[in-house]
């Protein structure tokens, strides 16, 4: 087996100067004066095979970058919809080893593959090992909802070696010095939470994310995307007017989830709903500017 952590002569891999995949995506979208549409779904939901189809559906229906969630038993940043979907995925045998297939699926479909994971899952898998496998599968970057830059030494080192983007979060009450810390450590883009709280759909989006995006840019971030609470084309258009990207999660997950929120819908119906919702949101994003 070749050890990809070393050069052919056997030396540890140095810093990868591979350009950021998400940066390239934003540059490309800039030409059309469009924000990015970033869609989230948990891997393995409702089961591994259907989730691969769902990821492809997203890319086929206008999603530029896919945020592939890794289901976790204790997701403190997630609201009821994503909690339920994660639980269903775990009950159906989701395993981190399979997530790289999802990464390949997104890459093959022409999307930019991102993974969103609570830190313990990556830490337990092995940070360097994860970075290596993620890179080999064609991954672009990792979103870490419960890892702040101050604790990210190992991840910063591994992502530097493997040319992966580091996407940290900021929130409306983040102080300027925190925005600076995050902007400095980030690679690819910064994820701005639209409001204080956990993931989930909302009827209205306040103006606070616009101010946060502005403050984060001032703190040094080159790209800022907004997530949490965006669920309609109208909201997507509103957010896309000022953000580099619009991130949608629960509203997409919702399409695959039955009314009770405890069980997934029939596969065909779910994927149909998902395609329609992605189309709707993509139109919103396209009309943002």
């Amino acid at each position: 087996m070749t050890n990809t952590a070393t050069t052919p002569s056997g030396q540890p891999l140095g810093i990868s100067h591979k350009p950021s995949r998400t940066a390239a995506m934003f540059d490309e979208l800039d030409k059309a004066n469009r924000p990015a549409f970033i869609g989230y779904l948990p891997y393995g939901f409702p089961d591994p095979e259907v989730s691969l189809k769902a990821f492809k559906t997203l890319v086929d229906h206008g999603v530029n970058a896919v945020e592939i969630g890794l289901p976790y038993s204790d997701p403190v940043m997630d609201g009821p919809v994503i909690q339920a979907a994660s639980q269903i995925a775990l009950n159906h045998g989701e395993s981190i080893h399979g997530v790289f297939r999802a990464v390949e699926t997104v890459a093959n479909a022409g999307g930019v593959p991102l993974i969103m994971s609570y830190w313990n899952l990556i830490y337990h898998y092995g940070v360097e090992r994860f970075a290596r496998d993620f890179e080999n599968a064609g991954g672009a970057g990792l979103i870490t909802p419960d890892l702040i830059p101050d604790e990210a030494g190992e991840w910063i080192e591994a992502s530097d070696r493997h040319g992966l983007d580091r996407i940290f979060l900021v929130s409306p009450d983040s102080a300027p010095e925190r925005l600076a810390v995050v902007s400095k450590a980030a690679r690819g883009f910064v994820y701005a939470a639209s409001r204080m709280g956990v993931t989930g759909e909302r009827k209205t989006i306040t103006d606070s994310p616009e101010a946060l995006v502005e403050r984060t840019r001032k703190a040094g971030a080159s790209r800022v995307c907004v997530g949490i609470g965006v669920s309609t084309a109208e909201q997507a258009a509103k957010v896309g007017a000022y953000a580099d990207g619009v991130i949608v999660g629960s509203a997409l997950v919702h399409q695959l989830l039955g009314e009770t929120g405890r069980k997934a819908l029939d596969e065909a119906e779910g994927l149909r709903n998902l395609a329609a919702k992605a189309d709707e949101l993509a139109q919103g994003v396209a009309s943002a500017r």
């Binding site: 940043m77 899952l121 604790e151 030494g153 204080m196």
Partner: protein
């Protein structure tokens, strides 16, 4: 010819060519004129950090070309700004593409020590280094015989320079020491996969005395290696590629320097006043960025309050007049006899009576302290999690007293086995939310509390009940609980005339009562400390909450801190089980994890059965009904006594922390011991009060 031989031969040839242009005598004159060398020893060892020697490196024989470095002076200045303690300049020209010209430019540019790194085997090269202003030179043991090594080392020392002596094996370290090396570079690369092998480093460095500065010389790339080497005892690190090829050189060095500071700060003593965020490698703040503002505020307000005599006075007064502190230290002679019968030594046993506090447990100590901070922060709403209900009751109590809005999250299973405590909390005006997500136990209650906090952080304080979670909770909760041990120490002297205990026993869930009773004794090596986890049906059963026994907990991040954690192969949190809701937790406070790793506290466990037997023993020998949680400490006292016996104690003085009273557990105990009629038992089962009827 080996690579090293080839490099040395080339270096000698090049030096000879230079000597033709500049004879030795001329160099010696230049040395006299050169500015005095900086004493690099002082730069290579720091109490509060791990000095970084950052290298200007264009290429190496093994990796080929690395970086162009058109302007070495600019790069050196970036290293210096990033916090480097010294700059290493490769002056070998053939394979490393360095030069003395690079060296001169760097020397001009920075004010920190500069190391000439070359294949130095002649006096001429040493004089040359000093003439160019070097503060440090490198000598490679493998390239020198003993006599030459000693001669060059002495010459460099005579010229006022510090010598970094590079070694690869124990034998070379021995030769370096014999020659009089004061700074030894250890190359601990694992030659199989070329990764840093910290074990090899530790093995090589093991016999080096303290007055030798130890530099980890190979394979340092980023923060991970600095941390690994630092924990293995390296004084300084030398790093080349990791900084030379970084996009932002200053930031790359800064990250290494920070990692080194963090390692040093995480291992400070005395243990009893150690500060977070890190306890050895444990602790930290593994939380969403959205909580950082609140955690920063809490840390700031707490440190202000600690320094404010008014705050301390209010806390002490309320502790006395409201909580009923000090809690007594009760001698338990009849229980001591039980230990004597079972173990065969005759201890004196003292019980620290946290069960006599208002609300019946130690939890109020912390709840009161934090509630006073809530007032100080001007927040109006308090949320808390609870397992056994003791922390929930304590929180609801202090909120009622101080007029704060209060919501308690409790897993549904716990809420049912502690139905009366739920009623107590509601009676006290708190809203109790039963959590039906996940496993419906303590950890799920904490998840919900964290979600609430992320959402309502502006007006809400999360009153965490134990020494776990993100910084500053482990430190702050310790400080509010350490009164337990301080009192016990004083009472043992004043009431019983005993200078110090030989042993302290406590149960460990998250670990707040254990830290509370142990903190005053952590730095007193005469006191043996014992912590007992919830053994459930035993470690092999898979139904337990033992985090420290081999094959149980693994390193992981959980609910804000790095610690030991019960988790699956996938890193998902494992279900835990214990008859006591309060110990039923998948992780453990980071300070305990550290105390385990450094061997200060002996951790073991008591099974459900052992705990329930101890529950009965103490009730029937002393008339004191302990909480089932505390019964694990009582059960542990038998095990501690056996250990003390093995250590040669005959009449040890033992303190057991009775963290809470057992009234709340009577439904469970009644069923366990068969004191309830079938009818009564059934009636309790309907409400789930035994805790085993809810799936």
């Amino acid at each position: 010819m080996s690579v090293l031989d080839e490099l040395v031969a080339g270096a000698v040839e090049d030096a000879a060519a230079r000597e033709k242009v500049t004879p030795l005598e001329e160099l010696k004159e230049a040395v006299v004129a050169a500015p005095a060398p900086i004493d690099a020893m002082a730069w290579l060892r720091k109490a509060d950090g791990i000095p970084v020697i950052a290298e200007i490196k264009r290429a190496s024989p093994s990796k080929g070309h690395l970086s162009d470095i058109p302007d070495p002076a600019a790069l050196a200045r970036e290293y210096e700004r990033g916090g480097a303690s010294a700059i290493s300049v490769l002056t070998e020209g053939r394979r490393f593409l360095g030069s003395l010209d690079d060296f001169d430019k760097v020397r001009e540019a920075v004010h920190i020590p500069v190391l000439r790194k070359d294949f130095i085997v002649t006096d001429y090269q040493v004089w040359e280094a000093r003439a160019h202003g070097a503060d440090l030179v490198l000598l490679i043991v493998a390239a020198l015989d003993d006599a030459t090594l000693k001669r060059l080392l002495d010459l460099a020392h005579d010229l006022g320079m510090t010598v970094l002596v590079e070694t690869h094996t124990r034998e070379e370290i021995g030769r370096a020491r014999a020659a009089g090396a004061r700074v030894i570079g250890i190359n601990a690369r694992n030659l199989k996969d070329l990764r840093v092998d910290v074990n090899k480093y530790a093995e090589l460095a093991a016999d080096l005395p303290d007055d030798v500065v130890k530099v980890a010389e190979s394979g340092v790339f980023g923060a991970v290696e600095v941390e690994d080497y630092g924990r293995a005892g390296a004084d300084a690190v030398l790093v080349g590629e990791g900084v030379a090829t970084a996009d932002d050189h200053e930031l790359a060095v800064e990250r290494l320097v920070k990692a080194g500071k963090r390692v040093k700060a995480s291992e400070t003593t005395p243990l009893s006043t150690h500060h977070g965020p890190y306890w050895g490698q444990f602790g930290g703040r593994y939380v969403p960025e959205a909580l950082i503002t609140a955690l920063d505020e809490l840390e700031r307000v707490y440190s202000e309050a600690k320094a404010d005599p008014e705050f301390t006075k209010e806390l002490v007064t309320l502790n006395q007049r409201y909580v009923g502190r000090p809690s007594p230290l009760t001698e338990a002679p009849r229980f001591a006899e039980r230990i004597a019968e079972k173990v065969g030594i005759t201890p004196r046993v003292f019980l620290k009576r946290e069960d006599l506090n208002h609300t019946g447990a130690h939890k109020i100590n912390n709840a009161l302290g934090q509630a006073l901070l809530v007032k100080r922060m001007g927040k109006t709403r308090v949320i808390a999690e609870t397992g056994a209900g003791q922390h929930g009751v304590a929180t609801a109590t202090v909120c009622a007293m101080l007029g704060l809005k209060c919501r308690i999250y409790m897993g549904q299973i716990d809420a049912r086995r502690q139905a009366l405590n739920v009623a107590r909390m509601r009676m006290l005006g708190a809203e109790v939310v039963e959590v039906t997500l996940g496993d419906k136990i303590l950890k799920d209650a904490i998840n919900e509390a964290l979600r609430d906090w992320v959402t309502n952080v502006k007006d809400t304080h999360y009153l965490l009940g134990t020494v776990a979670g993100p910084h500053p909770f482990p430190e702050m909760v310790r400080d509010f609980q350490k009164v337990i041990g301080e009192e016990a120490k004083q009472q043992l002297r004043d009431w019983y005339g005993i200078d110090h205990p030989d042993a302290v026993c406590a149960c460990v869930g998250g670990g707040s009562n254990a830290i509370g009773v142990m903190n005053a004794f952590l730095d007193d090596e005469r006191v043996n400390l014992y912590g007992y986890e919830a053994g459930g049906n035993g470690p092999e059963s898979g139904k337990h909450a033992i985090r420290f026994a081999p094959g149980t907990g693994q390193l992981g991040m959980f609910q804000g801190a790095k610690s030991y954690l019960l988790e699956t192969d996938e890193g998902q949190t494992l279900d835990t089980y214990s008859i006591s809701a309060g110990l039923d937790y998948a992780s453990v406070g980071p300070e305990h994890a550290w105390l385990k790793d450094i061997g200060r506290v002996n951790y073991s466990w008591a099974t459900d059965e052992e705990a329930m037997n101890a529950f009965r023993d103490l009730s029937q020998t002393e008339g004191i009904i302990p909480a089932i949680e505390s019964s694990h400490a009582v059960a542990g006292a038998y095990k501690a006594a056996a250990d003390l016996k093995a250590k040669g104690y005959e009449h040890p003085v033992m303190i057991i922390n009775i963290s809470g009273r057992g009234d709340k557990d009577m439904a469970t105990a009644g069923k366990w011991f068969g004191y309830l009629t079938d009818e009564q038992s059934k009636a309790l089962e309907v409400t789930g009060a035994h805790g085993d009827t809810v799936a």
